[in-house]
């Protein structure tokens, strides 16, 4: 029976991906059902291995001191459920819900628009940069949900077409997410699995994201400048403009939410020095948000996206099945064979394959699957793991920008636009997003090769 285990695990994984793509049932049902199938069919029936089940469920992890505080570099057990990721994301979800409840995002968008005197062309540039900066610390779904809504609101008064602005915001949001360990779910999974720090991400993917952001702002400006230059000439009725202060629903909650956000940033930036793990930071920030908003704690907790957390749990079990049965090792050997252990080729293959795959399938399962692949590839080919991790991170984060289904922010941005009477189809979306994605991927490939192959890291 053990000989069938890799085939059964691979079959469950493929089935899970197909069901996610078909979108017939909620995604967390699919991953949980496939996770249960992995535990029963692969581990219990084929492998008869209680150890594999224990390792994959990884339940003991949270009860070890290293889970909350480490003195050196520490990696989450790469096999099975990555509880650090789940707890950190849950904590950040609570914080973001607290900020949204206080009106922080709307206030920030409107305040910046006011600062540039409601000039459409300036708002276009400022909102792109803001999308990138906010997405470095907050999930891109929330950033785009608010930013796109404010863009539409301003577009009605300032009489400009919000579609190009939303497209640029979505792209820059994905780009900003790639800059930090907590910006995009693949990064937090990669970071916790490989023991990388916030500073590691900032000095590697962050550097690439910063160079790319400059290129992306110039690119979108060149493509769409005409629309906004014309809008600048229009007369504006100042009375119709939304007032930033009115976005703040509760002054005290607003100040507290800003402070919690700043504390979260400080804790994340310094976590390699303090030794606090992302699981600790997530738990701490979540609890502080709930305590500060104790009157609305119930509402905030209800709004937390539990479905995403359950989706992660099921996903990690399915990927654990592939790992325990050696399927991912075979993929690593295959990549090793075709690249011949050449670092340039390995970086290019991982980055571009991740990008192309992420343009069409969910980048979270993809990155979770690829982590054991790059780990094996690094150990068998004698390559440093870090450049491979950056290639995977940038590939999965940026590749998703190319199509309307590649990343959650793209879906949210196009949906908000359509709800307000501005449909964005595949053609319209890809026309500006595909060249921008290729531009950033070329920059990322060049930076990684220059830094890790030519200059030797």
């Amino acid at each position: 029976m053990a000989a069938f285990a890799p085939w059964v695990a691979a079959g469950i994984f493929v089935l899970m991906f197909l069901l996610i793509i078909l979108d017939k049932w909620p995604h967390h049902y699919i991953t949980l059902a496939c996770g249960a199938a992995t535990l029963i069919l692969v581990f219990a029936l084929c492998l008869h291995s209680w150890d594999a089940i224990r390792e994959t469920l990884n339940l003991g992890a949270a009860f070890t001191p290293e889970f909350w505080h480490v003195s050196g570099e520490s990696a989450e057990a790469s096999s099975g459920i990555n509880w650090s990721t789940i707890i950190f994301i849950a904590g950040m979800m609570v914080m973001v819900e607290g900020m949204a409840e206080a009106g922080f995002f709307q206030w920030l968008c409107l305040r910046l628009a006011k600062l540039v005197h409601y000039k459409a062309s300036s708002i276009f540039v400022v909102f792109m940069i803001m999308a990138a900066l906010l997405s470095m610390f907050i999930d891109s779904i929330t950033v785009i949900l608010f930013l796109a809504a404010v863009t539409v609101e301003l577009a009605k008064v300032l009489k400009f077409n919000p579609v190009p602005m939303i497209l640029a915001e979505v792209f820059c949001s994905n780009l900003g997410g790639s800059a930090t360990m907590c910006g995009d779910p693949p990064n937090i999974i990669i970071g916790t699995s490989l023991g990388l720090t916030f500073a590691d991400f900032l000095t590697n993917t962050g550097l690439i994201a910063m160079i790319s952001l400059i290129a992306a702002v110039i690119y979108f400006w060149l493509v769409f400048r005409k629309e906004y230059k014309e809008a600048d000439k229009q007369e504006i009725d100042v009375k119709e403009l939304p007032v930033p202060k009115e976005a703040i629903k509760n002054q005290t909650a607003f100040i507290l939410s800003v402070m919690i956000f700043l504390i979260a940033i400080v804790l994340l930036v310094t976590h390699s020095n303090t030794g606090l793990t992302v699981a600790f930071i997530g738990t701490f920030i979540g609890l502080v948000t709930l305590i500060c908003n104790y009157k609305k704690a119930g509402t905030i907790l209800k709004r937390v996206d539990y479905k995403t957390l359950l989706f992660f749990i099921g996903l990690f079990v399915v990927v654990g099945g592939l790992e325990q049965t050696g399927v991912l090792e075979q993929i690593a050997y295959f990549i090793g064979d075709i690249s011949g252990g050449n670092m340039t080729l390995v970086i290019a293959i991982i980055l571009w394959i991740s990008a192309i795959a992420s343009a069409f399938v969910d980048n979270i399962p993809f990155s979770a699957t690829m982590i054991p692949v790059i780990t094996t590839l690094a150990s068998t080919q004698g390559l440093p793991i870090r450049p491979l991790a950056w290639a995977l991170s940038i590939g999965t984060d940026i590749g998703g920008s190319a199509t309307p289904i590649g990343a959650s922010a793209n879906v949210v941005g196009t949906a908000v636009a359509m709800k307000n009477g501005y449909p964005i189809g595949w053609k319209r979306y890809c026309k500006s997003a595909v060249p921008a994605t290729i531009l950033v991927l070329v920059i990322a490939t060049a930076v990684l090769i220059l830094r890790y192959v030519v200059l030797g890291g």
Binding site: I405, M418, G421, Y422
Partner: protein
């Protein structure tokens, strides 16, 4: 629900080429009701006329699953978003007490709770549908057959992806009619008589609904 007791909503679903639109127009002229089909797109607040025209072919189309994703209840599928906007528009019209005729758009299920609703399904045999499609579109028999199959398949998948009941299933409609038996005009006359017969009962039902609504308040 605050609806006048003389409100009538006719939800007519139809096979492609069966003359459903023509029958709806005749009923609309008789009862003095506006008829909504593709023109529903003009009422959804879509900003640009160019976009409205682009969306014409996405109207009453199923979501292409491979090309769309849903995140937190939001979807990038213009077809699905359009359907949701259209359903909201229909519900709003019904809640405002307006009388109207709506072709397709899952109206028999979207408005199923509404007391002023009459649901109809119009079908016909191919001998009736094909010549009509050929004449209307200026195409040959083979093309007309392919067009009919394509459109009916699209309507069926669209309907069944949003509704609990199956498209064209007689159990889901108050009345199903074969337009080839009486022709479009004859079918319309028959339906006018049927609707007149239904009106007193509909008015009574709406009155009771309004009474229970006000007593609940």
């Amino acid at each position: 629900m605050n609806t006048p007791s003389d409100q009538i909503i006719l939800a007519i679903d139809r096979e492609f080429g069966s003359g459903g639109r023509e029958i709806a127009d005749l009923l609309g002229a008789h009862f003095n009701l506006p008829v909504y089909e593709k023109n529903i797109l003009q009422n959804l607040g879509i900003r640009s006329q160019e976009d409205v025209e682009d969306l014409y072919y996405r109207d009453e189309s199923p979501r292409w699953k491979l090309a769309s994703r849903t995140v937190k209840g939001l979807t990038n599928s213009n077809e699905a978003a359009l359907a949701a906007m259209e359903f909201d528009f229909l519900r709003q019209m019904a809640a405002e007490g307006k009388s109207f005729i709506i072709l397709g758009h899952c109206a028999e299920e979207v408005l199923s709770e509404h007391p002023g609703l009459i649901t109809l399904f119009v079908s016909a045999n191919e001998e009736f549908k094909i010549p009509r499609i050929m004449k209307e579109n200026g195409i040959d028999e083979e093309q007309a057959f392919a067009k009919m199959k394509r459109h009916n398949r699209k309507r069926k998948i669209y309907h069944n992806s949003y509704c609990e009941h199956k498209w064209g299933d007689a159990r889901n409609y108050d009345l199903t009619i074969r337009s080839d038996k009486l022709g479009t005009e004859g079918s319309a006359r028959f339906l006018i008589a049927y609707i007149h017969e239904r009106i007193p009962a509909l008015q009574k039902e709406q009155g009771e609904s309004a009474d229970s609504g006000s007593s609940a308040k």
